[in-house]
């Protein structure tokens, strides 16, 4: 696996945050690698296991449990729309539909487990219906990559998509 020196340095530094047990670094390492690679392949999981002196299963069980880790590549921009109550009351189900329609993506089936996001054919966007993003007062909310958007109506959604073209 090709890990740039700079990233590996960052990884090594991160491991020092856990002087008692290297195993604690599994979440931060997976975050760093997912940021770089887009998702966690089994090859990546193996790499993390080696780095932290763990068995591959110790990493795989993490990847499969935590909703933020993806086992398949997302689009170039990954959209997360909040599904939970306050957002739903403010129209997030419709927001999800609008975004899917405008970005030409199939609507994700909120199955909850595995990788419930869908990717558009051109690979530009992927979209996921997620649980409460803790901004219920400005519902409905969504995220694009690490950017956060509040009170998103249809016009705002169109503008957001435009921004990431």
């Amino acid at each position: 696996m090709d890990i740039p020196a700079e990233l590996e340095q960052k990884i090594d530094e991160t491991i020092t945050h856990y002087p008692v047990s290297k195993r604690s670094a599994v979440l931060p390492l997976l975050h760093l690698l997912q940021e770089h690679l887009g998702y966690i392949s089994s090859e990546t999981a193996d790499w993390v296991a080696k780095k932290l002196d763990l068995q591959p299963i110790n990493v795989l069980e993490i990847v499969t449990f935590y909703p933020m880790f993806r086992a398949a590549p997302p689009g170039r921009h990954h959209i997360r729309v909040c599904r939970t109550l306050s957002c739903a009351m403010a129209g997030s189900y419709k927001l999800l539909n609008d975004l899917c329609e405008m970005a030409h993506i199939e609507r994700p089936q909120h199955a909850g487990h595995g990788t419930p996001f869908t990717v558009g054919e051109d690979g530009k966007f992927s979209i996921e219906f997620v649980e409460c993003l803790a901004s219920c007062g400005t519902a409905p909310v969504c995220m694009v990559n690490d950017d956060f958007y509040e009170g998103v109506n249809k016009e705002a959604a169109a503008e957001i998509l435009q921004k990431y073209q």
Binding site: H17, Y18, P19, V20, S21, R23, S24, A25, V26, L27, P28, L30, H31, L52, L54, N58, E61, I62, F65, Y66, P67, M68, F69, R80, R83, T84, L85, S86, A88, M89, G91, S92, Y93, K94, N97, R107, Q109, H110, A111, G112, H113, V130, E131, C132, L133, A134, S135, C136, G137, T138, A139, M143, D146, F148, E150, G151
Partner: protein, 499 residues
Amino acid sequence: MVSLIKQPHPREKRMIFKNVDRPGWKTDIDTYLGDGGYEQLKKALTMSQPDVVNEVKASGLRGRGGAGFPCGVKWGFIKQDSPKPIYLICNADESEPGTFKDRYIIHQDPHQLVEGMVISCYAVNARLAYIYIRGEYPEGAKILETALAEARERGFLGKNIQGSGFDCEIYVHRGAGAYICGEETGLIESLEGKRPYPRIKPPYFPAVLGLYQCPTIVNNVETLCHVKHIIAMGGAEYAKIGRPNNTGTRILCVSGDVQKPGYFEVEVGSVTMGELINDMCGGMKDGRKLKAIIPGGSSAKVLRADERYKIKEKNAEGVTVDKEIGIEDIPMDFDTLAAVGSMAGSGGVIVMDDSRNMVETLANINEFYAHESCGQCTPCREGSLWMQKITRRMVSGEGAKQDPAVLKSVADNIAGKTICAFGEACAWPTQSFVAKFKEEFDAKAQRNVTPREVSDGVALQAGRPVLVHDHEVAAASAGGVPKPDAPWEVSNDSKSGEV
């Protein structure tokens, strides 16, 4: 980040949120120092460690994460001469639906949290601490990391803090989207690099067998921030704010069907539910009527607007008397909300108006808990999914007569039968919704809507077509084609509660 409210409401008493939305306020350390920042840490370092714990005990501060456990008592469980290292963890995994207070502290006033944490570390003699922040706050994690680096540089963190001889290091640790990590023992497992399966208590009380099997204190973001203010004014003085046994200020987060949702920091118990909704949030949206309130995060039991609640109150002679009050007269404090059968929980108040169907509302909540059950205990793993399936079926028009009774029995068999409090968290909504809105559940407990798929523009709920109401289908076939929204959005339909 867009803020909800620019001006604090006159009924507010801003302490923790003093710098939130403050004009000219920035997150850097110089801004913070220019406002008297880190003075309380310096003061605490001149006190003995047990003295700091005693001040917090005297303050009566109760945890702001959900359980409301007295913070000083929790700290008192730590033996400071423990041969094992002691750890402190800040629970910044804010994920109880309806709660969004920590977001603003982290994004707008990170140094307040850092100062509160270092004081707390000193009090319980922890040399290593982590901020476990939810994965969906990538920006917040960066802001905190910057704040920690600044604090380290200025000698408020690291070795020999301010020449006191006390060493303390804090690191940011990001979660990855799992609600169960907000449960303190699940959080500890997660921080150890494992699946966040909560641990059984006893024996795994974090104060005894916590992180790496060492004594550990886990406190919420808001709780840790309060510590700074307790040091500033002294525990006894702090205890005068709020009500006895419900001291200090509390940040209430309001969302749902009100004109102006938002956050409000008030003295605990100083406003009633009615004042919160009508005065502070500008009343209900679109002139609609209040129907129900979930007062402390989505797991808190729902309160019905037209119900009378019995509370105990001290009269002028100091004698405790029984009193009956309406929902709008309930003061927002820990004890009263418990007395009316719900809880203050995390401070997340979700308001619903009379257009909301309660089966649909519960269906939404059940989707959440079914998704978030960690799967460790059978009653919760099976039960949360079972309840989700029933309410899903009910909202899609395929209800069966026995559904309300089955829902209740499933919920009753989860609560109290699991390792962690998630069992209650997922059972309480079902138990309370079904009991309090029986007529709506009975109405949906029959196949009273012809199953029909509407392919164009239909909102899918959980992968299934959501069935539209009969009159909408009629309108559609008459050429009107109203696009049915998600079931939660039937707000403009006065008959929505009935299907």
